[in-house]
């Protein structure tokens, strides 16, 4: 049975990371050149790690499925990145950022990891500025900040509504420099399909060349997965079309534990679903909640008339509007954390107060702030988001309130990692959204970019050396080994069997069905019966998939349908594990809301006696029930309380 050792260093919380660094093993420069590291993924977590490791002298092989590393989905992040700089002098500190993150995560994350994250946050901003990231500035030339949900201070740095793209370009540029210097070999359009383990250690990957369909082998002393989140298990999400769980899932099937799979985040402000043909959901940055006020009609009859198109939002007088977040949570108002805001929107819509032709939307209104600050100020802050909204909906948000609804956005769950970001497979590390580490049951806005870059620039490049220091006598090895043969054969057989089904239904037909099951039963509100139904239905769907899938085209060719099919095959297994995890967790916390466990006021009701742990699932073989191992969470610094945003 897999054992979990979180490897949290000894000592007081604020000394753990410096103690760790002072005592860890390092690799000397001459030996670094002899060590290879595979980094799968070129988002913030992957690109920053690849660049930093290469600068240190390691030889890095970097992979992504897009045509260019610069296109990883980190690029889509809009709102900003947190750091404890306290530039606005509003009382922020490392401790407060740590505290907010633990509380925001509903006390389901590890204190030591989160403290370290807060500690290195300031260095990230320094690093990015040095790379030429054009953060927003004040007239005096200093960096500007804005506030985000779940915090009472302004600690979010941003670059218009494109923070992700600008941070990623910084990391991509650093990576490009190392490619030129010959320290990184870059493999775009190369999709990891399998993990190769030799003598119990991660030693390489099997990847498929997306253009030719050829399977290729790559070896290294260590493998890092920075492959992003698995929101696309819901089909509709704010993720990129190609975002997938396959690299993590294949590693799970090779022995890596998967932490808290049921913890996914539903973002409160996305453009509502409008039709069957829809392929993805577009986020409207949470930063909009700084200046936008969320409301629905106070009277059901008005909501009905709006849905029928008889009246519009503008026809309702102030008294006819219910600013339900401000009403329920006077202290945080529109800036409550995401899970709270999402559930409140669902509650209003389920109760019949929703707007839009489907009734599954609420208003996000800028009227008051346009009056207070002027249209120009609002345009300078949110211009590109408003434009994006208008292009999609054909409505002008300067004049009519936006309509929004929650959508799947982020996966807090992911590969289980210890303090060193190592999975339960020695030599296999996971960073960024792909790991489960820092956000507990709910992530605060602007903290994913922070975590991705913390992992890649400042944590992994150190911790991986503690492992590699023992590998300096391992020579570079060939891919001509029985383990590589076996892994390639396994993948090749999977691909052939998918091609050979020759049924009648397309990949998307199945993916949409899976999405509906997940959203219905494993989405914003869950209950025992629903989760059991989900497990049944997913199993049926999986059978149908393997009996009736049709993939046109050829195996050894550019074949996007085959690519989608391999990803969906893994989602069809992950979905079941998520439902099992949600079923096991008989409490509500953060993004995981079990209807059976709520307070009289409809807030999430945790059960700290029984569920104060990370659920790490391990694979026991095809068709067998996975095993669940608990990592107990110990809070030494913070007093565990019910979250209160009133």
């Amino acid at each position: 049975m897999t054992k979990l050792d979180s490897k949290i260093p000894e000592g007081p919380l604020d000394k753990k990371w410096s103690n760790y660094k002072a005592n860890q093993n390092l690799v000397n420069p001459a030996n670094k050149r002899k060590l290879d590291i595979i980094v799968v993924g070129t988002g913030l977590a992957g690109a920053s790690a690849a660049a930093s490791l290469a600068e240190m002298g390691f030889k890095v092989k970097s992979f992504c499925y897009q045509d260019s590393p610069r296109r990883a989905h980190s690029i889509a992040a809009q709102g900003g990145i947190n750091a404890a700089k306290n530039y606005p002098n509003d009382g922020d500190s490392v401790y407060r950022l740590f505290y907010d993150t633990i509380k925001g995560g509903d006390y389901r994350s590890r204190e030591a990891n989160v403290y370290r994250l807060a500690e290195v946050s300031n260095q990230i901003i320094d690093q990015c500025v040095a790379q030429g990231v054009p953060f927003a500035r004040e007239y005096g030339g200093t960096l500007a900040n804005r506030s985000f949900g779940g915090a009472l201070v302004s600690r979010t740095f941003y670059a218009r509504g494109q923070t992700g793209q600008q941070l990623l370009l910084g990391a991509y540029q650093a990576q490009s420099r190392q490619i030129k210097q010959g320290n990184i070999e870059m493999y775009p359009r190369m999709e990891m399909m399998n993990l190769v383990i030799i003598d119990g250690k991660a030693r390489g990957i099997i990847a498929r060349d997306v253009i030719t369909g050829e399977l290729k082998r790559f070896s290294a002393h260590s493998v890092v997965l920075a492959t992003g989140g698995y929101g696309n298990v819901f089909f509709l999400s704010t993720m990129a079309m190609g975002s997938n769980v396959s690299a993590a899932w294949q590693s799970y099937k090779k022995g890596a534990a998967f932490g808290n799979p049921c913890f996914v985040q539903i973002h409160p402000t996305c453009i509502p679903v409008h039709g069957e043909y829809q392929s993805k959901l577009t986020l409207m940055s949470e930063s909009l909640r700084n200046d936008g006020r969320i409301w629905v009609p106070k009277h059901k009859e008005d909501a009905e008339r709006i849905r029928k198109g008889e009246i519009t939002a503008g026809d309702l007088p102030e008294e006819g509007r219910d600013y339900y977040l401000e009403r329920r949570y006077p202290a945080f108002g529109n800036l409550v954390p995401r899970d709270v805001a999402s559930r409140a929107a669902k509650e209003r819509c389920d109760a019949g107060f929703g707007v839009g032709n489907t009734g599954l939307a609420v208003y996000l209104d800028f009227k008051d702030s346009i009056e207070r600050l002027g249209k120009d100020t609002i345009e300078a802050k949110y211009g590109n988001l408003f434009q994006m909204y208008e292009k999609i909906t054909d409505e002008n948000p300067y004049e009519t309130p936006m309509m929004i609804y929650p959508a799947i956005h982020y996966a807090m769950g992911g590969l289980w990692v210890d303090y060193e970001l190592q999975t339960t497979i020695p030599g296999l590390f996971a960073t960024g959204e792909a790991n489960f580490s820092d956000h507990g049951a709910n992530r605060l806005g602007a903290s994913a970019l922070m975590q991705g870059l913390a992992d890649g620039y400042f944590v992994l490049p150190y911790t991986i050396q503690n492992y590699l220091a023992h590998e300096i006598n391992t020579p570079r090895f060939s891919t001509d080994t029985p383990e590589f043969d076996a892994a390639e054969k396994e993948t090749s057989e999977q691909l052939i069997s998918l091609m050979n089904i020759k049924g009648t239904k397309s990949v998307d037909t199945f993916h949409k069905k899976l999405g509906k099951i997940m959203w219905e039963y494993v989405g914003m509100a869950r209950n025992m019966e629903g989760l059991k139904t989900a497990i049944e239905e997913i199993r049926e769907l999986r059978k149908d998939f393997y009996a009736n899938l049709r993939i046109p085209g050829e195996l050894n060719d550019l074949n996007p349908e085959l690519q989608k099919a391999t990803r969906l095959a893994d989602f069809l297994e992950l979905g079941e594990l998520m439902a099992m995890d949600a079923l096991n967790r008989e409490e509500s916390c953060g993004g995981h809301f079990r209807e059976e466990y709520q307070t009289g006021e409809g807030e999430a009701l945790r059960d700290d006696k029984q569920y104060n742990y990370v659920a790490a699932w391990t694979f026991s073989g095809e068709g067998k029930a996975p095993e669940m191992i608990r990592e107990a969470l110990v809070f030494e610094e913070i007093e565990v309380k019910q979250r209160n945003y009133k």
Binding site: A51, E55, Q66, D67, R70, R71, H73, A76, Y87, Q123, I125, D126, Q127, V129, A130, Q131, G132, P134, F135, R137, E138, Y139, G141, T142, A159, R160, Q162, Q165, Q173, A174, S176, R177, I179, K180, P188, I211, A240, M241, G242, G275, Y277, Q278, S279, K280, L283, Q387, M388, K391, D394, Y457, F458, P461, S506, T509, R550, P552, G553, D557, L558, P560
Partner: protein, 246 residues
């Protein structure tokens, strides 16, 4: 909506391509252009035919992966958007839509509408960065940056690397892209140090990669989904000139 589609189909880089006509019906005007192609592809799959291959990922106008000529225009008939942000309400019922891949020597076709834009990455690898290692940075507020400069830098940095500028240019020049990259960094004190060298190296690399010369026709600016301005090219030329006289 009912539409006629005329789409470029090409099996691979070495085979010749051709236009193929398709008919498609019941398209919602609220669907996006790529969702319309999804519907077409689902139909093709149901007939057992190979779907039309096109590049796309974020579908929200930021990753720069999508890109094709739609009725003769890169990213199609709307201003300041990418192909994935184009919506069907911009077309008329019954219209014929012509869809082709980017055409440029430096961007060879891979299959159907998908092209190889790795030349952009090679340009960036040449010198499109600030030479700073992780861990070397001073406090972020040590060097104040004029807000106006930072804003101009940000304007240039919004380039998503889609390649529409190259596709729109009759010389297939990458000047708008390169100028956006050079301007983004040259306008900030951190990038200023290497600005001249960067400009010289990137321009030389652009020629080496088979991009054409800039003859100031301005077609790139007109089609750029992110509104990158020609003034960036003027700035690049100044940097380049400085590099060649010093």
């Amino acid at each position: 909506m009912d539409l006629k589609l005329k789409i470029w189909r090409q099996k691979n880089a070495s085979e010749r391509g051709r236009f193929v006509n398709y008919k498609i019906s019941n398209i919602s005007p609220d669907s996006s252009f790529l969702e319309m192609l999804d519907v077409l592809n689902e139909e093709l799959i149901s007939f057992g035919e190979e779907p039309v291959v096109f590049d796309h990922d974020c579908r929200e106008g930021i990753c720069g992966t999508c890109g094709m000529y739609i009725n003769g225009r890169p990213h199609g008939p709307d201003e300041l958007i990418t192909a994935c942000q184009l919506h069907m309400r911009k077309f008329r019922d019954g219209e014929t839509i012509v869809i082709e891949p980017w055409r440029a020597r430096a961007f060879p076709v891979i299959k159907d509408l998908m092209v190889d834009r790795s030349a952009f990455d090679e340009l960036m690898q040449d010198s499109g960065y600030v030479s700073v290692n992780t861990g070397n940075a001073p406090d972020a507020n040590t060097i104040p940056v004029q807000k106006e400069q930072a804003d101009l830098s940000m304007d240039a940095a919004t380039c998503i690397g889609c390649g529409a500028c190259v596709a729109a240019c009759k010389n297939a020049s990458a000047m708008l892209f390169v100028s956006a990259k050079v301007s983004h960094l040259a306008l900030l004190p951190q990038g200023r140090v290497e600005a001249k060298k960067r400009a010289a190296l990137m321009v030389a690399k652009m020629d080496a990669l088979g991009f054409g010369n800039c003859t100031n026709t301005g077609a790139c600016e007109a089609e750029c989904p992110k509104g990158i301005k020609l003034t960036n090219i003027a700035r690049l030329n100044r940097e380049y000139y400085k590099a060649s006289i010093f």
